[in-house]
């Protein structure tokens, strides 16, 4: 699971109103898979990103810090863009636990696949 995908996940627990963003529990196992850098893609996907959720996900995984704000100048900063690309697309969470911020319900990530499915008694 890339952090771009994590950025799109929220708690599926019934009745939860503040189910986003999902926390990443300490001890997550990550792998890095290099992929082609594309500034165009970052520009394209940025409007849909929840930036603060991405910043805290990076912090949870002890990745190089992302700035709290993205300014027009950021888009000319090559080292920032490279780091954003790396954190967003090249770091894969292989094993770990995602946590609903409201209910505390844990969603496991196993072999890179987050499991957002609830048990029958939760539906």
């Amino acid at each position: 699971m890339k952090l771009l995908t994590h950025n799109m996940l929220a708690s599926t627990v019934r009745g939860v109103s503040q189910g986003y963003p999902l926390g990443i529990a300490p001890g997550a196992v990550t792998e890095v898979h290099a992929c082609d850098f594309s500034k165009e893609f970052l520009v394209h996907v940025f409007p849909k990103l929840e930036w603060s959720a991405f910043v805290s996900a990076c912090a949870s995984l002890s990745l190089p810090t992302m700035p709290a704000e993205v300014t027009p100048a950021s888009w000319e900063d090559e080292s920032f863009l490279r780091q954003m690309h790396h954190n967003l697309l090249e770091v894969h969470v292989q094993e770990g636990t995602l946590i609903c911020p409201e209910s505390g319900r844990q969603f496991p990530v196993s072999k890179g696949i987050p499991n957002m499915l609830l048990n029958e008694d939760e539906i």
């Binding site: 699971m1 890339k2 771009l4 995908t5 950025n7 799109m8 996940l9 929220a10 708690s11 599926t12 189910g19 986003y20 898979h33 290099a34 992929c35 082609d36 594309s38 165009e40 893609f41 394209h44 996907v45 409007p47 849909k48 929840e50 697309l89 072999k111 890179g112 696949i113 987050p114 499991n115 957002m116 499915l117 609830l118």
Partner: protein, 232 residues
């Protein structure tokens, strides 16, 4: 890449080990998948460099195909653990060498819960259940795609496969109830359903299917609308 090449590559995608009747796990053939993907790319430029969500990805056929066609990011969603395990193997065994950067992420979730997430995409692909085992299952997928996923400001596209016999119904529901700006059949294909389950009497059945392209408006997802119409 030509459609033949994609079809040949996708023919290595392993099928379901034990298909589940209630989930209507019919395989998407390499033939069908490659034609959907080529239509989407060649006619509408909806795959390469796009973000893609594949609802009910099963063994990963459409998601892997989209990755091979140059999608920038692909999320394959399925409810079934066994199918996802096969999808993951299909990615590892056949496609790591083609796209080592792996734009594809798999996600286990009930398609009906997709609106609880914050999925966004330029393009949604799906081969939903035809709804023959559980009535309405096909349109639940369309509903989740059209109302549960958010699209960029310029709008998005949803591709879905439905029996030609349901054409009138699909088009009406998509536009009248689910807010599709357009609903067009962009290709007609023959779906060769192999004898998958014991209750099938014939070795295979040839079904006529439509490839639909729904145009969806962009911008923020309207949660209230989605919830209201989900109750009807």
């Amino acid at each position: 890449m030509k459609v033949k090449h994609l079809e040949a590559m996708l023919s290595d995608v392993a099928p379901f080990a034990k298909p589940k009747v209630m989930l209507e796990q019919y395989p998407t053939s390499a033939h069908i998948a490659s034609h959907i993907l080529f239509t989407a790319q060649e006619q509408f430029q909806d795959i390469a460099n796009r973000t893609v969500v594949d609802l009910g990805t099963g063994t990963g056929m459409l998601a892997i195909g989209a990755s091979l066609m140059g999608a920038a990011h692909v999320v394959g969603v399925d409810i079934d653990d066994d199918a996802l395990a096969i999808a993951a193997e299909n990615v590892e065994e056949n496609f790591e060498d083609v796209r080592p950067d792996g734009p594809l992420d798999l996600l286990r979730c009930d398609v009906r819960d997709v609106s609880r997430l914050r999925l966004h995409a330029d393009t949604v692909l799906m081969n939903p259940p035809f709804g023959t085992k559980r009535a309405g299952a096909d349109m639940e997928f369309v509903r989740s795609a059209l109302l549960g996923i958010s699209f960029p400001p310029r709008g998005g596209a949803v591709y879905s496969l439905h029996k030609t016999s349901t054409r009138k119904h699909v088009g009406e529901v998509a536009q009248r109830d689910l807010g599709a700006l357009r609903a067009d059949v962009v290709a007609e294909l023959r779906y060769d359903l192999p004898k998958t389950y014991r209750f099938h009497k014939k070795e295979s059945v040839d079904v006529s299917v439509d490839v639909w392209r729904f145009v969806v408006k962009g911008g923020a997802r309207d949660d209230e609308d989605a919830t209201e119409s989900a109750g009807t």
